[in-house]
Each structure stands twice: as structure tokens, then as C-alpha cells.
């Protein structure tokens, strides 16, 4: 298992390299540059800006420069002289020396922030929202799917699947404003927009204040986002459970005299979860790195907006940073899924 995980990590590096290459080629192939403005900038200033951000160098040099900044750790003395030298990981060594690693570059749209700042300050918010939404999705989806599966073709089945269809069909862009209107504006129980935490965070993700003041902002957006995902999980759980329940070993377990609860929870559920876990991997990556629509409707300062706005602004470092971040989350989530397979089904073995 250990060798398997090591091999997977090596492949991850290759995947990320290829992805960065393709992203780089695409972002420079698209016409228009970051400094094209409605009110034309003087040509000397554009030349200066391009020199400052190394956009006037040949493409291969720009790409290698990006790789060098992002991958190679550096030892330097003192504080960084400019924002262009700031890094995600900054460990103070002896004297005044620092070990600096992972510099994803500046943001062309904001002079006082780098890509690292954007990720540091806004990824935690998206992560918090995403984890909350997925928790709701799993807590609603799996029980609903189990009940619907066990009581197939009864009222519980029809009710559960109707809710699932509703959840899948009503997108966040419709459900969100409805929730805001009912609970935020009319009843005034929950705040319509905003987020209850702000940087700095503990351990990169955990907000300092975990009281009701934080959770009241989480409830509506997490629910709006989670309901749609729970529908997918419910349907998958139900379908998979229906298949597993008819297997021979379940009949054996019943014949042995085990109570129905043990048969379902210990034997049937573990095996029926494999398709669900498969889907949870990419779902986790997608939801945790930021969802544009949910964050816009609820005014949440997450990372989702940057995926889209960076492309319209031709903000190359942010584009690269967000895409690589998503890729890393996706790859790690898939790895976790594969390891979970081995736990769920002992027949699956990796070498």
C-alpha cells in the first residue's frame, strides 16, 4: 500500500507539470493581454509593466521562471524586498536567513496582493463552506438513500426520490435567493449575506471564533449548496443498496439470524458505498475550492470568483495558481477515494 501511494504521488507531479504546461499555452494563446484597458495606457507604461512582470520574455523563459519560483525553495536574507518575492512557506532559520518556498507570483489586478495572499485569505473560506455543504449533503443523502432503498416502492421511496429530483433540478442560483428571501429578508432569522470568519486562521482553515456568530452565516449557503449534492448521493446510495441487498452473502447473514440492523449497517452498507465514495472525491474537490454562484449570491469572500474573473482579466499567475490548486485537491481527493476502496472492500488490493 505504501509503495502504491508513493507511485501515485509521483504521477501527481507529472500530471501537475503537464497541466501547468497546457494552461500556460492556452492562457497565452487567447487574444488580449492583462494591460489592455478601455482608456489606453501610454505605450511606455505598458512596456514597463510587461518588463516588471517578465511578460516581454520569450514564452519558454516565462514558463521556466514560473516553475523556478513555484518549485524551488530558496534561502534568502532578510525580508522580501518587494511583493514579487513573497512566498507561501517562509521559515525563519538562524540569523536573518529565511527558507522560502512556493512563490506563485503577483496578481496583475491588485498591486497590493499576490496569488499567495489570495489563496491564503480566501481558500479557507471556500474550504469551510465546502466542508459544511458536503457534510450536509452526506448527512441528508445517505440516510435518505438507505431508507429509500430498504423500503423500495413504498411511500418512503417515492418521497425520498422526489426530494432528490427537486434537489438536482433546482440549481443554487434559484434556491439561494429563495432561501435568502424567506429566512433572511422576511423572517430575519439568518443573515442574508456575508461570512462569519476572517483571516488569520488556525492551522490554515479553522476560524478563530466557532460560536453561533460564525455558524449563522454558514447555514443557508451550505444548505443551498449541499441540497443539490445530497440528491446525487441519495440516488447513488439507493441504487447501489438495491443491488447489494440481493446478493447471496446478505441472504446468508439473514439466515444466520443476525438482526436486520446489523445486516444493513455492517454488511450491505459498506459494499454499497463504493459508487458513492467514487463520486464524493471529485465533488469534494469541486466544492471545497470555491463555487462561484453560491459565493456571489451569499456574498461570501471565497476563491470561486477568482477562477472566472482571472480569465477575463488575463491575470496569468492567478489563472495558473487557481487551476493548479484545483488539480492538487482533485488528485488528493481521488487518492483518498482509492485508499477508501481498499478499506471498504478487502478484495481490492494495490501493490
Amino acid at each position: 500500500m505504501g509503495r502504491y501511494i508513493a507511485r501515485r504521488f509521483l504521477w501527481t507531479v507529472v500530471v501537475l507539470l503537464v497541466l501547468s504546461l497546457v494552461t500556460f499555452a492556452l492562457e497565452h494563446a487567447v487574444p488580449g493581454g492583462p494591460f489592455d484597458r478601455e482608456k489606453k495606457l501610454p505605450s511606455e507604461i505598458i512596456k514597463n509593466l510587461e518588463a516588471r512582470y517578465h511578460l516581454d520574455e520569450p514564452y519558454w523563459k516565462q514558463y521556466l521562471r514560473f516553475l523556478y519560483d513555484a518549485l524551488i525553495p530558496r534561502i534568502a536574507k532578510g525580508e522580501p524586498k518587494s511583493l514579487l518575492e513573497e512566498s507561501l512557506i517562509d521559515i525563519k532559520l538562524w540569523d536573518d536567513y529565511h527558507l522560502r518556498w512556493v512563490n506563485l507570483g503577483p496578481s496583475y489586478s491588485s498591486r497590493s496582493r499576490t496569488v499567495n495572499d489570495i489563496i491564503r485569505e480566501q481558500l479557507p473560506v471556500s474550504f469551510q463552506l465546502g466542508v459544511a455543504a458536503l457534510t450536509i449533503a452526506v448527512l441528508i443523502g445517505i440516510p435518505m438513500g438507505i431508507i429509500a432503498g430498504l423500503k423500495q416502492n413504498t411511500i418512503w421511496d417515492y418521497l425520498g426520490m422526489s426530494i432528490a429530483i427537486f434537489g438536482v433540478s433546482v440549481p443554487v442560483i434559484a434556491l439561494g435567493p429563495i432561501l435568502v428571501w424567506i429566512f433572511g429578508v422576511m423572517l430575519k432569522w439568518l443573515p442574508p449575506t456575508g461570512w462569519g470568519a476572517k483571516p488569520p486562521y488556525i492551522l490554515f482553515f479553522i476560524p478563530k471564533d466557532l460560536s453561533w456568530n460564525f455558524w449563522r452565516y454558514v447555514i443557508m449557503p451550505a444548505f443551498a449548496l449541499g441540497l443539490g449534492q445530497s440528491a446525487i448521493i441519495a440516488r447513488l446510495t439507493r441504487a447501489s443498496l438495491l443491488q447489494v441487498i440481493r446478493e447471496d452473502y446478505i441472504r446468508t447473514a439473514r439466515a444466520k439470524g443476525l438482526p436486520e440492523r446489523i445486516v444493513v449497517l455492517r454488511h450491505a452498507l459498506r459494499n454499497s458505498l463504493i459508487p458513492v465514495v467514487t463520486v464524493l472525491g471529485p465533488m469534494f474537490a469541486a466544492v471545497v475550492t470555491g463555487t462561484f454562484v453560491t459565493e456571489q449570491i451569499f456574498g461570501i469572500p471565497g476563491l470561486g470568483k477568482y477562477f472566472i474573473v482571472s480569465v477575463t482579466n488575463r491575470d496569468y499567475p492567478v489563472i495558473m495558481g487557481t487551476i493548479l490548486l484545483y488539480a492538487i485537491f482533485l488528485v488528493l481527493a481521488n487518492l483518498a477515494v482509492d485508499i477508501t476502496y481498499a478499506w471498504l472492500d478487502p478484495r481490492i488490493r494495490y501493490e
Binding site: G32, Y59, W60, L83, V185, P192, T193, F298
Partner: protein, 590 residues
């Protein structure tokens, strides 16, 4: 098998990158020789790169910017022309005082909360990116006529999209919010909200420009016909619904020097289907066409957006109905669109222009005169028009000046019909009844003049997206300028309602004989302040003495904006006015 193919793919992409990045040694230039019908291909070597400037040369250029602190409280500025709007420009945020010691210490991060220093009616308390900005009253600001001491203790600016912001307003969590288009009808009909609704002017114009060199748009009769056939009021009533004003010309009334519909009711162009058809007939007679279908294809382009699409479709329907002409409507993504306009603009293109400073010079001249922003897009170069505007910039008599701009507008939208102005923007906002406020004519509010009858925090929505910057030298958009103008004050300051020019940080000034050199006498004893975590405190220098705003800070600010290293988007406005700034901005080999 699949591994091999992925390696092939990687090598192919790498090769493509290497090939495309190789720069050609020799440039081929296609030259059209007058008299010959074909084009001649000439190979030319590229120009050698300009020689890099030495540090002394750079310093000489910086010193050449004619803004000098004669002593701590006297600033002397020399302008390029004795233009009427010089005082306007020198009061803009790009020429505000900037804290040299802080910028040198913190670099680009100096604007962030925790170290931001300012001196105006408010100070920066908190800036959570993409979420909100909070500013707090500065008790050390003494209050001047144009910018009194603040009454509201704290202001929180949120960064929400229009719809969530209005939901917050209705929930009682925001005190001022813009009304989204889809809620317009509901708000107008609601008994409570309709009383809180105000439709005020916004200093922007929406227009369609013509590429006057591309047939069939190279004929002035056709351009006039299209412009006359737009039912502007109908568009506003049925599509826009925001109480906008139909635009008869380009420059927005209310800007200094701009004609107003009250004084010039028949100036420019209005909806007139009969006249439109007459112009169309004149065009067809000239070209020898007997039928509308003989007119070559016309492309109307806009930048991708739902609202622009609806306007374009409505207007093309109007053209079809009144003139029988069917144009092809197409759109492009914003950055691609901007490039297209500059390199090969379509027959008809859509743009808006918003004010930088409230003077007609910023509108008609900066956009459409020779050398203006949209010269390439219109391909229209009119010497008489440009000369008229250059003279109007210097004309001191207000009525004569307005006449000259009226004349210029007539050339722009009627005689040459280079553009078809469509509407003048409005701002539709709802304000809670416990906010006593003014309504600004120039794009951002002076909230130090507002007061609350309940509570002591004012909550306002700025607009979607983070405030791009709080650095005065770099700010271009309304959100940034809104906050910056409350943190710092310029040499002069406009009254936001009357647009009258008032003294700001400069108490008074003297003008030289030739009208080019101004000597500004600054107010004394206004300290630099910052938020220290619990309250606003004065900034101290190394010896422990409080730092006051001096003429040196203004000199530093102006020179910093003109410096190519700062790469300021708006420096060109200072370059227009202050002597030496343009040379610094465009210095070759910097």
C-alpha cells in the same frame, strides 16, 4: 501505449511553445505606394531597442516635473497650458499627498489595513478582501468648508452584487443600495420603497460609434440616418427602465462647459424617423441604389453582456422598422473587443464613457479629438474640431466656452456624425429614511457630509468585487476613488452637488501673469493618522514628533504618479496638465 502518447503530446506542446516564442529577425512590412494598385512588400530590420537611461538621467526627468515645494506649506505647480480645468485636475486623487516614508518602508503593501496612513475626514480601520472595508472617523481632521468634520462614526462598505445587496437592504442590514434592474418595477410600485428611491444623474454616456473609414459607414448621410432612427426615449422606457435621459450629444450636461438641453434644446441629434428616411434617401441617391438590400453588410458589435445585447437587438429592430436596414449583430469578450476596436473596429461599435474629472475637456476632447482614446475606433480625424476644442480649453468666459463645446458637439454628432449618442446614465438608489444625505453629481459621494438619526454605523454597498486598490496613484474605478477620497483630500475639492471648485488642502492660491504657474498655500497643522487597533492616532516620525501634511508630500505624490515605475493608469491626466509629467511618463529607455 497511453504513456507513449502522453509523452508525444508533451513534446509537441513544448515544441510549439519554443517555436512561437522565437522572435523574427527581420520584419516584413507591406507598403501601399500611392499611384500603384498593388502593394509592395518591403523587408526592414526592426528598430534597435532605445538606450537605457542612467540613474542621473532618470532623476533629471523626475526633477523636471514642475511641482515643487518651496517650503513646508507652499507648493508651486507649472501647467502646460493656461487651461480652465487645471485646478480641477490638480485636485484629483492622483495628485493627493502620499506618505513617502511609509511607501518606502512597506512598498506596494502600504495601503493594507494595519499600516495605511491618511489625513482626511476618515481613516482606514479594516479591509477584509472581497468582503468589506471599514473606515472610521478621524478626530484630528479639523474640517474645512469643502470637507467638514465627519458626523458618522464608522462606515462599512460591503462588496456585494446588486441583487444580494438589495436583499440586505430590505432585511435592514444595509442603509444605501442600488436597485437592480429586475426589481425596478416592484420598487416603484411598493409604498415604502418608492419613497426611498432616488434616480440621480451619473456622469456617463452610452453611445454607438461608427468606423468612418469602412464602407458603407464612410458616408455621412447613412450615419446620420442611423443616428436619427434610434428611438432613445422608447429604448429607455421599454428596455432600460432606469429613468435615463436620451442623449442628444456626447458630453454629459452638468460637466463644466458642457451644453445643457435647457440652454440648447435643438443641439445635436434626436429621434426623427422622417428626417432619418430623408437622409437615407440622400445616401441611396448618392450611391445610385434603388433598393435598401443593395447596401453592403453592416456589422454592429458589442462586448458580451445581457444588457448590451438587449439594447443592440432593440436598436437593430428600430433600424429595420424605420429604414428597412438589417444589421448583423455580434459580440466579443471584453478584452478581445477592446483589441478589435483599436486594430480593426467594426462598422458600428458600442462603448460608454465615464467622467475622470467633471469638465467637457475630459469628454469630447480626450475621447474624439485627434490623438484621443477612440481615434482608431472611429478613424475620424477632424482638424477644425480638434482646434476648436484646444481653444475651448483656454477660454475663460463660461458662456463663450459652452458655445464652443456646443459647436464641437454639433460637428461630432451631426455634421460629421462620427458617433450616435444614445443615453446619459442615471444612478438608481434606495436610501433608508434615517440617513440624511446629499446626492453627488460627480460619481462618488462625500459621506463626511452625511448624518444618521439612528445608530452610528453607516453601511453602504460599493459594488461587486474587491476594491482594486487604495493607492491614490493607482486608482481608476469608482469603488477605489470613493474610499480614497474620504481618506485623503486634494489641493482643491469639488462640491459634489454644485460641482463648484472649492479650496481643499490649499487654503488659497496665486496665479502668475501667464496663467501657467500656480502657487498653492497649504493649510497647516493637519496630521497624518493611522488606526492602531483601538483608535485613530497621529503618526510619529523617528524623533517622536507628529508628522503633518506638507507641500513635500504633495510634490512626492505628483511625482510618484508621473513615475513610470508606478505604472499608474490615470497618470496621463496629470500628463495633460502638469509640465514635465508627460516627458517622464513616456521617457524612452526607462
Amino acid at each position: 501505449m497511453s504513456k507513449k502518447w502522453s509523452i508525444v503530446a508533451i513534446v509537441a506542446v513544448l515544441a510549439a511553445l519554443v517555436v512561437t516564442s522565437c522572435k523574427p529577425q527581420v520584419q516584413t512590412v507591406v507598403v501601399t505606394v500611392p499611384g500603384k494598385t498593388e502593394q509592395v512588400v518591403v523587408t526592414a530590420t526592426p528598430e534597435p531597442a532605445p538606450k537605457k537611461l542612467t540613474d542621473e538621467e532618470k532623476q533629471a526627468l523626475i526633477d523636471g516635473v514642475a511641482a515643487k515645494a518651496l517650503d513646508d506649506y507652499t507648493l508651486q505647480v507649472t501647467f502646460t497650458t493656461p487651461a480652465v480645468y487645471n485646478l480641477n485636475i490638480i485636485g484629483m486623487w492622483v495628485a493627493h499627498a502620499m506618505p513617502k516614508w511609509l511607501i518606502e518602508e512597506k512598498g506596494d503593501r502600504w495601503t493594507e489595513a494595519g499600516f495605511n496612513q491618511s489625513y482626511g475626514p476618515y481613516a482606514l480601520k479594516e479591509w477584509v478582501h472581497d468582503a468589506y472595508v471599514t473606515i472610521v472617523k478621524n478626530p484630528f481632521w479639523p474640517g474645512i468648508e469643502s470637507s467638514p468634520q465627519a458626523s458618522i462614526e464608522e462606515i462599512k462598505f460591503t462588496m456585494l452584487d446588486a441583487s444580494p445587496a438589495f436583499a440586505e437592504y430590505e432585511a435592514g442590514n444595509l442603509d444605501v443600495a442600488g436597485v437592480p434592474l429586475q426589481d425596478m418595477e416592484r420598487v416603484k410600485a411598493d409604498p415604502v420603497l418608492s419613497k426611498e428611491l432616488v434616480i440621480g444623474p451619473m456622469a456617463c454616456t452610452y453611445y454607438y460609434g461608427f468606423n468612418t473609414s469602412k464602407p458603407p459607414m464612410d458616408n455621412v448621410h447613412l450615419r446620420r440616418a442611423l443616428s436619427l432612427a434610434i428611438d432613445r426615449q422608447g429604448l429607455i422606457d421599454n428596455v432600460l427602465k432606469g429613468g435615463q435621459q436620451p442623449a442628444q450629444w456626447f458630453c454629459r450636461p452638468g460637466m463644466a462647459g458642457c451644453p445643457t438641453p435647457e440652454k440648447y434644446p435643438d443641439l445635436g441629434v434626436k429621434y426623427d424617423p422622417e428626417k432619418a428616411r430623408a437622409e437615407l434617401k440622400a445616401y441611396m441617391d448618392e450611391m445610385g441604389y434603388t433598393d435598401v438590400s443593395q447596401i453592403p453588410e453592416i456589422i454592429l458589435m458589442f462586448n458580451t453582456s445581457e444588457s448590451h445585447r438587449r439594447i443592440a437587438e432593440a436598436i437593430s429592430a428600430m433600424w429595420k422598422e424605420t429604414l428597412g436596414i438589417q444589421v448583423t449583430v455580434t459580440n466579443q469578450e471584453w478584452k478581445v473587443y477592446l483589441k478589435t476596436l483599436q486594430e480593426d473596429s467594426p462598422h458600428i461599435w458600442r462603448l460608454g464613457w465615464c467622467m475622470d474629472y467633471p469638465d467637457a475637456n475630459n469628454w469630447t476632447r480626450e475621447v474624439f479629438a485627434i490623438g484621443g482614446h477612440e481615434e482608431n475606433a472611429t478613424q475620424w480625424r477632424n482638424e477644425e474640431f480638434t482646434k476648436l476644442l484646444e481653444q475651448a480649453a483656454l477660454e475663460k468666459d463660461y458662456n463663450k466656452r459652452q458655445d464652443m463645446y456646443a459647436q464641437a458637439e454639433q460637428i461630432l454628432v451631426w455634421e460629421d456624425a462620427a458617433i450616435a449618442p444614445i443615453y446619459w446614465y442615471t444612478r438608481v438608489t434606495c436610501t433608508k429614511p434615517y440617513v440624511k444625505r446629499t446626492f453627488s453629481q460627480h460619481g462618488h459621494e462625500m459621506m463626511e457630509k452625511w448624518s444618521l438619526s439612528e445608530g452610528n454605523i453607516l453601511r453602504v454597498n460599493l459594488g461587486p468585487g474587491d476594491v482594486p486598490t487604495l493607492d491614490p496613484a493607482l486608482a481608476t474605478d469608482t469603488s477605489s476613488v470613493q474610499v480614497i477620497d474620504m481618506l485623503t483630500v486634494g489641493l482643491t475639492r469639488l462640491d459634489e452637488v454644485t460641482l463648484e471648485l472649492l479650496p481643499g488642502m490649499a487654503e488659497r492660491w496665486e496665479v502668475s501673469e501667464d496663467g501657467l504657474t500656480y502657487t498653492f498655500y497649504l493649510r497647516q497643522g493637519i496630521p497624518w493618522v493611522r488606526w492602531n487597533g483601538t483608535e485613530v492616532e497621529q503618526v510619529l516620525d523617528d524623533e517622536g514628533n507628529p508628522r503633518f501634511v506638507t507641500a513635500h508630500d504633495f510634490e512626492y505624490g505628483i511625482k510618484r504618479t508621473c513615475n513610470p515605475d508606478t505604472a499608474s493608469d490615470y497618470a496621463y491626466v496629470l500628463g495633460f496638465a502638469v509640465k514635465g509629467c508627460n516627458e517622464l511618463l513616456n521617457a524612452e529607455g526607462w
